[in-house]
Amino acid sequence: MKIAVCIKRTPDSETRFRIGATKSAIDEAGVKFDMDDFAGYAVEVALQLKEKAGSGEVVAFALGPDSVQETLRKAMSMGVDRAVQLKTDAVPYDGLAVAKALAAELKPGNFDLVLFGKHAFDSSAGVVGTATAELLNLPCVTAASKLEIANGKGAARRELEGAAELLEFGLPAVVTIDEGIARPRYPSLKGIMAAKKKPLASKPAQLAAPRVVVTGMALPPDRPPGRIVGEGAAAVTELVKLLQTEAKVL
C-alpha cells in the first residue's frame, strides 16, 4: 500500500489576522504557521491505513518555500516515511496551477491512494484535490468522513445534510478528507527526533503562470454595539417591535 498525502502549511486557526501592506494578503508578522487541520486528518488516515495494511509507505508532499519543510518534518514525526517539498517562493492562489505541479510529481510515483484535506483553512477553496484527480485521470471522492481500503477497492462515507452517502471506488484513487474522521496523533518526542533522519527531498515546483490572483482582502465590518431596549416585561413590546421593523428577524 503506497499512499501519498498532500499537505498545506497554513496560519494557526487561533491567530488574529491583520491585512498586510499589499492589501491582498495577511500580515505574516507574528503569525504562527502549522500543518493545516484538514491535512492533519489526511495524514492520520494515511498512517492508519498503512498500519492496518501492515506494510507500505506514506509519502508527504507540500508546495511552498523552505518554511514548509518544518511542516513536512512534522508529518514525518507523526510517522510519515519520507517527504517531498515542491519548492516555490509563494503558494499561488490558482488551485489548478498547484494541482498541475503536484500531478507532475505524483504521476510517476505509482501511488495506490492520494489523500488531501477537503480544503485548507486559509483559502477554503477546495480545488487542488479534485483538480489533481482530474489531471491524473483518477476516481475522486471529496470530503470523506470514513475511508476503508480492502481487496484493492476503497469504500468511503460522505456526510450530507441529514443523510450520508456510501461510495465504492477502484484504486488508485484520490480522496479528500473531512474533519473529525480521525484524531491526528501527537508527534511523539522520539518521532520528532526520528523525523530528522528521514529523507526530505526538495525540488523546484513546475508552476505555470497563475490564471487567478487575489487582488484584495477585506475584514468583516465591526459589529455594531448592542443596545439595551429596557428592562423586565415592560420592554418586551418595544423589543418585539424592533426585532420586526429594525432587525427584521421576526
Binding site: D34, E70, R73, K74, S77, Y186, S188, L189, K190, M193
Partner: protein, 390 residues
C-alpha cells in the same frame, strides 16, 4: 501563549515541535480533568500510558535505553508544559525521569540500565525516589535508614522515608541508605528496591491541601531483603542523590514558568472580560500593575531557564546556577499565582479556575527539592565562601 521576548525565536525547530506536542497533550487531556482530580485528591493515572507514548519520561536520556534523547532545553519545555497543567502531573514526570531513571542511568550497571530504563520510559514500571526522612528533610545527610550487607552479598534494609511522590503507585523505589553501620554521609548508597518486597510498606499521606492531584506517601522498610544487584554500583556518598536533585530542580525551574503562565493567561483573559463599574477590570490601573508585574517576572524567569538549559547542554552549568533558577522561578510563580487569584476576585477561589490550585501546589514546589531557604544559603555560600548551614 505568553512570549513577550519572542523566546520562540531562540528555540530550534525540534524544541518547538516537542513543546507544541506536549502543549497539545496538556490542552486536550490534562486541563479538562485536572480541576476535578484536584478536588477528588486523585492523581490521573489514566494519563500515564499516554505520557509514555508521547515520550516524556526520561526524555533527555539516550535513545539506546528507549528514551527520546532530547537536549535539556527541550526537556525543560516539556516540564513547563506539564506544569502549565498541574504541578502534580509535572512532579510525576520529574520523579519518574530525573529522580528514578536518572540515578539508574548515572549510577547503575549496564545490566540495571537495560533491565529498567526502557520499561520506565514506556511507563510499564513507575519509580519513586526515597531520600527525605521524617526528621531529615533539608539535612538529608543525617538520615537513619541503613542497609546492611550480608555474608552472601545480599542486603537488609531498615528505616523509613517520607514525602515520597509516586510512593504508592511505584513498582520500584530508588532508596538512599547509609551502609554497614557507618553513620557518616560518605556511606550513603542508592538501591533499586521493588515495592512488593517483603517488609516494604507504602502509606498514602492524607490531608494534603496542596499537590492534591499527586500521590505522596510514607515508606517503611522492615528487614527488606535486597539482592546483591539492588545496589547502584556507581553511587557513593550524599553527592549521588544530590546530583539527582540537581536534575529535578533544573526541570522544576521550567515547570514553575508553566504554572505561572497558566495563571497569567487566565488572569489576563478575565481582566478583559470581567465588567465592573461599567468597564473591563483590565482597564483599571491597579489590575494593569498586577499584569505588568506578572509579565515582567515571567519573562525574566523564561530567560533564566533558557540560558541555564543552554549551559546544561554545553556541560558548563553549576548546581548553584540551578539553585538560583529554582529559587527565583518558583518564588516568582507563587507570587504570580497569588496575584492572579486576587485579580480573579471571588471566582478565583473555585476549582473551575486554575489560579488557586496552582497557588496551593506551588507552596509544595517552594518547599520540596531544596526549600527556598536552603537555596538561599547555597547562593550565600557560593558568594561569600562561608557556609551558613551549620
Amino acid at each position: 501563549m505568553l512570549d513577550f521576548f519572542n523566546i520562540d525565536s531562540q528555540l530550534s525547530e525540534d524544541e518547538r515541535a516537542v513543546r507544541d506536542s506536549v502543549r497539545r497533550f496538556v490542552d486536550d487531556r490534562v486541563l479538562p480533568i485536572i480541576g476535578n482530580c484536584y478536588v477528588e485528591g486523585r492523581f490521573p493515572k489514566e494519563l500515564v500510558p499516554e505520557m509514555a507514548q508521547l515520550g516524556v519520561f526520561g526524555a533527555n536520556l539516550p535513545e539506546e535505553y528507549g528514551c527520546a534523547g532530547l537536549n535539556n532545553v527541550a526537556y525543560g519545555l516539556i516540564m513547563q508544559e506539564l506544569e502549565r497543567g498541574d504541578s502534580g502531573v509535572r512532579s510525576f514526570a520529574s520523579v519518574q525521569g530525573a529522580l528514578a531513571m536518572y540515578p539508574i542511568f548515572a549510577f547503575g550497571s549496564e545490566n540495571q540500565k537495560r533491565a529498567w530504563l526502557p520499561k520506565m520510559a514506556h511507563g510499564e514500571v513507575i519509580g519513586c525516589f526515597g531520600l527525605t526522612e521524617p526528621d531529615f528533610g533539608s539535612n538529608p545527610g543525617g538520615m537513619i535508614t541503613m542497609a546492611q550487607e550480608q555474608a552472601d552479598g545480599t542486603w537488609l534494609l531498615n528505616g523509613g522515608k517520607m514525602w515520597i511522590t509516586n510512593g504508592s503507585t511505584a513498582q520500584i523505589a530508588v532508596v538512599w541508605a547509609k551502609t554497614n553501620g557507618d553513620k557518616s554521609e560518605r556511606s550513603i548508597r542508592g538501591f533499586i528496591v521493588p515495592t512488593n518486597s517483603k517488609g516494604f510498606k507504602a502509606r498514602d499521606q492524607k490531608g494534603k491541601l496542596s499537590l492534591r492531584a499527586s500521590d505522596t506517601s510514607e515508606l517503611v522498610f522492615e528487614d527488606v531483603l535486597m539482592p546483591n544487584d539492588a545496589l547502584l554500583p556507581k553511587s557513593g556518598g550524599l553527592k549521588s542523590p544530590l546530583m539527582c536533585l540537581t536534575q529535578a530542580r533544573y526541570g522544576i525551574s521550567w515547570g514553575a514558568i508553566g504554572a505561572a503562565i497558566a495563571c497569567f493567561e487566565e488572569a489576563l483573559s478575565y481582566s478583559k472580560n470581567r465588567i465592573m463599574f461599567d468597564r473591563p477590570i483590565g482597564s483599571f490601573q491597579l489590575q494593569q500593575e498586577r499584569i505588568a508585574d506578572m509579565l515582567t517576572e515571567i519573562t525574566k524567569a523564561q530567560l533564566v531557564s533558557l540560558h541555564l538549559g543552554r549551559l546544561k547542554d554545553a556541560g558548563t552549568y553549576t548546581p548553584q546556577q540551578v539553585s538560583l533558577a529554582k529559587r527565583n522561578n518558583v518564588d516568582m510563580a507563587t507570587d504570580v499565582a497569588r496575584e492572579a487569584r486576587r485579580l480573579l476576585g471571588a471566582v478565583g477561589i473555585l476549582a473551575e479556575y486554575s489560579a488557586m490550585r496552582h497557588m496551593a501546589n506551588l507552596e509544595s514546589v517552594y518547599t520540596y527539592e531544596g526549600t527556598h531557604d536552603v537555596h538561599t544559603l547555597v547562593l550565600g555560600q557560593a558568594m561569600t565562601g562561608m557556609s551558613a548551614f551549620t
